[in-house]
């Protein structure tokens, strides 16, 4: 059947896309943009099913997909510039944290926030309002953004600052690309004393122990995160390794390194897919990895010097570890809970760890207060993220059960990680959802900004 509107369309390649979890693939016509102008043109391209921007596809679920519509791949637009006097950076949306760090660190600057991978773009960082190990001190990505330019489906481009248009600015922070495509952004970057960190490690035999350590001690550290063993049960439920630190001053470094305190190397040791055998991450290997890794950590260690990749991006050393879960993929489930919801947190850890679902990367952190973004994820309290292998038919019900626990205490789920929550939960989890909808309707009255996540959750 020939479609007339199809005949008028530019000839963009049809590509199959998934998120990092490799689940729920869909196809879209992909515009490979190489500049901010091309991003803007892609968003306004004719499409019966709208458009959405895509960065490096590190969201786990379906946020950067748009089945049957247009997806604007921004990764070809990656220039940025630094003002070394102020630490203010202006970057195209497709610039990655990896690229930024290679440019910034030698000048003595760091990114304001980094997630557990450096392969995310500036556009993706804004759209998910990403958080890092410093959330308790520095907030999330958009707290550091001075301005951005947003391309809208009508072809217009708006310059947005928190002062000029606070509603649009904050709706875009965590707005999952559904309020427009960021084409470039200006943000403030902090100075660092060296490219190394001073790291303290504390191993805790159970959940209460690690929560207490974080409650009492996090304020003394710039960065803090706990890796939690989700295969441990019973007495050792929630056993964790807490790593906290700050950037070292040149004097903290070993003498040999002081001459070049901002040396920065970020290598991928293994990246060929063939080197990460499909399905290598199964319940058996993961139990083993978790056990070894927990035992390997010292009970207490103070003042260890670590590099940026070691401390912030250990997973990036294995480029395609996500393929380790096999062709069916996996998902990540991340919640935020109020500080006093410790019993619910324990119950959630218990449900997930006794279910024997496969879980490789599991992180527990204490968030500081959130920001005004209606869909921005962080809120003061605890955040837990766990990997879950797909394939076990009981996982769906288990996750619905833990979702209910989250909802009941006024917690929420992270959309950048989500791939299966019920759309009906969204309003309770994000009480300012209607405010967000009003802003979206004002900039996108025909609802042309759309993604698979948006369709699934009723956001577009």
């Amino acid at each position: 059947m020939a479609s007339t509107s199809a005949d008028r369309r530019p000839d963009y390649p049809v590509e199959r896309l998934t998120g990092w979890g490799n689940t729920a693939p869909t196809t879209a016509r992909v515009v490979h943009a190489h500049s901010p102008t091309e991003i803007a043109a892609g968003v306004a391209a004719p499409s019966d099913r709208g458009a959405v921007a895509r960065g490096l596809g590190r969201c786990y679920g379906d946020a950067a997909q748009n089945a049957g519509g247009v997806v604007v791949d921004t990764t070809g637009a990656g220039e940025f510039s630094l003002d070394p006097a102020t630490g203010v950076v202006t970057a195209s949306a497709g610039a990655s944290i990896d690229e930024l760090l290679r440019g910034l660190v030698p000048w003595g600057f760091f990114v304001p926030v980094t997630p557990g991978t450096r392969y995310v773009t500036v556009g993706g960082a804004i759209a998910s309002d990403i958080h890092g190990k410093n959330h308790h001190k520095a907030g999330s990505w958009c707290d550091h953004v001075l301005s951005f330019r947003l391309a809208l489906p009508d072809g217009s481009i708006r310059s947005v600052t928190p002062e000029s248009d606070p509603a649009l600015f904050w709706a875009t922070a965590g707005g999952m690309g559904l309020t427009g495509a960021v084409i470039d952004a200006t943000f403030r970057c902090p100075t660092i004393g060296s490219s190394r960190l001073v790291v303290d490690t504390d191993r805790s035999d159970d959940l209460d122990g690690v929560l207490a350590l974080m409650t009492e001690g996090d304020d003394a550290y710039d960065y803090s995160v706990a890796w939690i063993d989700m295969m441990a049960t019973g007495r050792h439920l929630g056993r964790s390794v807490l790593q906290r630190g700050w950037f070292a001053a040149p004097d903290d470094l070993p003498v040999g390194d002081r001459a070049n305190p901002f040396a920065y190397r970020a290598d991928v040791l293994v990246s060929a897919p063939a080197l990460v055998p499909s399905g290598v991450l199964n319940p058996l290997t993961i139990r083993l990895i978790d056990e070894v890794w927990y035992r390997k950590a010292p009970k207490v260690r103070r003042g260890e010097i670590q590099t940026i990749p070691q401390f912030f991006h250990p997973l990036d050393m294995i480029g395609t570890w996500n393929n380790g879960y096999g062709p069916r993929g996996f998902l990540q489930w991340q919640c935020a809970l109020p500080l006093d919801a410790v019993d619910e947190l324990r119950r959630i850890v218990e449900l997930l760890s006794t279910s024997r679902t496969t879980s490789f990367v599991n992180v527990l952190k204490r968030f500081g207060p959130g920001n005004p973004g209606p869909l921005s994820f962080p809120m003061e309290g605890w955040t837990l993220s766990v990997d879950v292998a797909v394939g076990n038919p009981d996982v769906a019900r288990l996750l619905d059960e833990v979702d209910d626990l989250v909802l009941a205490v006024g917690g929420r789920l992270y959309l950048a990680k989500d791939s299966r929550m019920k759309g009906s939960m969204l309003r309770a989890m994000y009480p300012k959802l209607d405010e967000w909808r009003a802003v979206k309707a004002s900039v996108d009255p025909d609802n042309r900004l759309c993604s698979d996540l948006g369709r699934r959750l009723g956001l577009c």
């Binding site: 729920a24 998902l331 996982v395």
Partner: protein
């Protein structure tokens, strides 16, 4: 949209009064499915089926559809998608069994069954594939049968239609896989439904609910082939290779 765990939010049933299909759809609406379209040739039966599915927050619509009317499948199915929006899952459930005695007495009636079970299923599936390509996603669940694995002398016309359908659906699935479109082939054994009413049950006979559970588990796993009950996969792994004289005896009961 489908989600990472194989849950769907909308479904279309071709053969909307089928007992097996309705058991599957009941599972789907108990999960995240909030929009159902039942398509079939018996308006009264469809209304009854729709009433049986209705619950809070679930929209159920019915629409006329005749599997034998291949000429209109593409347009009709396009119209269903146009009216109801994205349909995440399509369940191809229609089929007729017939009796071998009937076919022997009236060869033309056998040809009509081939036309319904195979011809109609092929054109309807291809029409669905057009819509799935357009919407960029979708899961087609095709009710084949263990009869597709090896024809038995008691109903080899039906078996031949299912063998053709099964091969077609596998090929379609391979063709669409690169597009993120899934085709699941379901091979039930003997199921107690309207279709088999009054017949002697075969070994490993099962129920529509059990078939539905197997299909839902298959969706969760992203399976391309589902046997119901699961043991039939192994039974037929053997049956398929029995020498003809032995099969003739085994399949006679």
């Amino acid at each position: 949209m489908k989600d990472a765990l194989g849950s769907v939010q909308s479904a279309l049933v071709l053969g909307g009064t089928s007992d097996i299909a309705l058991a599957i759809v009941r599972r789907l609406v108990d999960d995240r499915c909030a929009r159902v379209v039942l398509a079939g040739r018996d308006p009264g039966g469809l209304e009854k089926a729709a009433a049986g599915l209705s619950r809070e927050g679930v929209e159920v619509a019915t629409t006329p559809f005749d599997a034998d009317d291949a000429e209109h499948h593409a347009a009709q199915i396009a119209a269903i998608f146009a009216e109801h929006g994205d349909l995440d899952l399509v369940l191809l459930a229609f089929g007729v069994l017939g009796t071998q005695d009937g076919f022997d007495a009236d060869p033309a009636s056998a040809s009509r069954v081939v036309h319904t079970n195979l011809g109609g299923a092929v054109s309807a599936s291809l029409a669905v594939a057009q819509q799935f390509r357009r919407q960029g996603h979708g899961t087609l669940v095709v009710l084949s049968s263990v009869a597709a694995e090896r024809a038995r002398k008691s109903n080899y016309v039906y078996g031949a239609t299912k063998a053709g359908l099964d091969a077609f659906a596998q090929g379609l699935g391979d063709a669409l896989a690169p597009l993120g479109i899934d085709v699941m082939v379901v091979r039930p054994g003997f199921v107690h439904t309207r279709m088999t009413e009054g017949m002697d049950a075969q070994p490993f006979a099962t129920t529509p609910d059990a078939v539905a559970d197997a299909v839902v588990r298959g969706l969760r796993r992203g399976a391309t082939t589902v046997w119901a009950p699961g043991i039939l996969r192994w039974v037929f792994a053997v049956m398929r290779h029995l020498p003809r004289p032995v099969w003739r005896i085994v399949s006679a009961r």
